[in-house]
Symmetry: C2
Subunit: 400 residues, 2 copies
């Protein structure tokens, strides 16, 4: 059985936490100076443990195992949401480094922009499986400030670099360790989650156009209030989605922008970011049909015009049974009775890598379920336990 | 009868339009360099027509008539909403200049920040009637960028200047000419509106606090989604306000800010700017009671906490009967059958000045009802007609 050096693993994690530090978390948006510094830091760690480090034209960092196969691919992403937690993707990447330090035959990867700072999101994992076109790169812009992706890549020194592709047959499977980002484990008093499948996120933009007017001179009967049309549509979604959703479906309005956004002006336009998630394609399709129907209803009833655009449409991914079995057994050995199987409500790079090879994920608890916030945290003993279980499962799956 | 020089009046308006020009409108937020340039421009015009110009510590520009009384006060405001129209307050100020040019015994005033770029709003008209305390000035901040009012006054060169007060008994009344900011006149084919009363605006801030979380890891049942709580509260207002409002009441949500505002993060807080307006105090009080009740209901039903803060609470103002009669007669003489009496749905400086002297307002049509937008416009012949009717009414009221 491989033995993880837990102290070294935690030291690596805490070293990485210093890059772009924000309160107890980090601020490392994709391609920012802090993000690029963390990628260079990772390449040094990869070289240290004998892997051949490289960075490609989309910012993916790769550490290539020099010995013979069979091999595994292990990793996650290294950028963070804005002012967010220190673990999130970083945990899966540093766990990969720990497995390599323990002598396991692994390639380690940090995929770029899983967090979707740029339109489309998952740029690195889409790119490495050959599903990110040059035209998509041309079109994509920062969701933070509108910077074109091409400009951000150039500023990060990545313009013109080739984009790495997965080598067919090189890896027996992909393991990704991650924090749960929820409270299921904590509430049940468990320490590990073996992921059964990863939800797909279908992200939408709803643009509503009305007529900007003075809030006093224009009677209620005359108004074309884009903000009110948005509120009524979102209230209808809140009322109708429970009728078509699945048991673990989620839906979220992340942003509502009313223009011009002043107290005495009737909003002339409203821009809404909306998404839903599920592990089942039929459920996703039912939610899409309901959303489209509610937007049609809005356009029938309101004096404003709502336009629905799908920003991203991933496929749900199921985890590999043999890899899950290996994780089950390792979890039961190290934490008897303190683990469960569970779906992942969050999207992860594994959902794209799963299109090219067997994939599996291991969750450790998030304290208070807090995620995408600087206060995100996990107990050190859970981090160390998860990494050891990942190593045992990796070795067993390679042997099997 | 005084004769307005319509060509000179329109030339003045168009000259002012060049200061802070934005497309066919203007961008002159209070105390911005463009706003201060427009105040200096006005002082030159006031001097030109024989008035004694001055600017006070809150930015009010005043042109004092040098001859004997009885006198009138005529004016409005000169700053604009962001990227807004060229007429709005500027029309009433330049109409005052036109009356002075025509030899009428008027003081002309441009009151600062009617548009409420700073918390509180109506700074100039509140200040000149002695209802703006130093403590309120200390507290107020820019709604655009949070700049403290004191800093903005200092940057505009106004720090330390005394604040002008209305001289008791100096004025027989206050006339304010303004664009309608609605479509009532246009739809009825009319050219003038004699205002019967000015609505009060009660402006509110609703702050909702929930828990920021990952949009996938947190189940629907666990969430404390501040954005969704805001949507449900605003939908309830939309449903319940018609049951308590008056015939011409309006209510408007101008801004909804969800923090952090990212697609995959459950909003941890929501900040809503909400207001309602009416000419009747009992109606305003019924709407307030309903709003407070809906916020209490929200706090009873939601896992988020909503806090309601009143940002401003003006009193409705009724116009002076003798001044309205003078406007009626002048309107009928110059545009027989093409005028009406009407309430003002928008707030105006006149509502504060009316606390110290008789006040009245005259409306000219807004093309398409567009207001607080750079496309705002009024036909030149309506502008000229309105100014002549104002002059006739002013003279008749002074005589009467």
């Amino acid at each position: 059985m491989p033995k993880i050096d837990a102290a070294h693993f935690l030291r690596d994690l805490n070293e990485l936490r210093q890059i772009g530090r924000y309160r107890t978390g980090v601020h490392r948006p994709t391609y920012s100076p802090e993000d690029m510094e963390s990628r260079r830091w990772l390449m040094q760690r990869l070289a240290e443990c004998g892997l051949e480090p490289s960075i490609d034209g989309i910012g993916n960092v790769h550490g290539r195992h020099r010995g013979p196969g069979p091999r595994l691919l292990v990793g996650s992403h290294i950028e963070s949401q804005n002012q967010a937690g220190w673990l999130d993707g970083a945990l899966g990447v540093v766990a990969g480094v720990a497995l390599a330090r323990a002598g396991l035959p692994v390639d380690v990867c940090a995929f770029a922009d899983e967090e979707g700072h740029f339109e489309g999101g998952f740029l690195g994992s889409k790119s490495i499986i050959g599903e990110l076109s040059e035209a998509e790169i041309d079109r994509s812009r920062s969701r933070n400030d509108g910077t074109p992706l091409r400009d951000a890549l150039a500023a990060a020194g990545l313009a013109g670099k080739p984009r790495m592709q997965l080598e067919a047959g090189r890896h027996k499977g992909f393991f990704e360790m991650h924090i749960e980002q929820g409270t299921q484990l904590e509430k049940a008093g468990l320490r590990l989650g073996v992921v059964t499948g990863i939800v797909a996120i279908w992200q939408w933009r709803i643009e509503i156009v009305g007529q900007q007017d003075h809030a006093g001179g224009t009677t209620m009967a005359e108004r074309r209030d884009a903000g009110l049309a948005a509120v009524r549509l979102l209230a209808a979604i809140d009322r109708e989605f429970p009728k078509v959703c699945g048991e673990r479906s989620t839906w979220t309005t992340g942003r509502i922008t009313l223009e011009p956004g002043a107290p005495s002006i009737i909003p002339g336009s409203a821009d809404v970011l909306f998404q839903f998630r599920d592990v089942g394609l039929p459920v996703l399709e039912r939610m899409e049909a309901m959303l489209r129907s509610l937007v049609r209803e809005s356009n029938r009833n309101e004096r404003c015009t709502a336009k629905l655009t799908q920003v991203s449409r991933a496929l749900p991914a199921l985890c590999d049974p043999a890899m899950m079995a290996a994780l089950d057994q390792a979890a039961e050995r190290h934490a008897p009775g303190l683990w469960q199987r569970m779906p992942s409500g969050a999207g992860h790079d594994a959902q794209y890598i799963a299109r090219r090879m067997p994939a599996a994920m291991l969750f450790v608890p998030s304290i208070g379920g807090i995620s995408h916030h600087w206060a995100e945290d996990t107990k050190e003993e859970d981090l160390a336990l998860g990494c050891q279980v990942l190593a045992d499962a990796a070795e067993a799956f390679l042997r099997g």
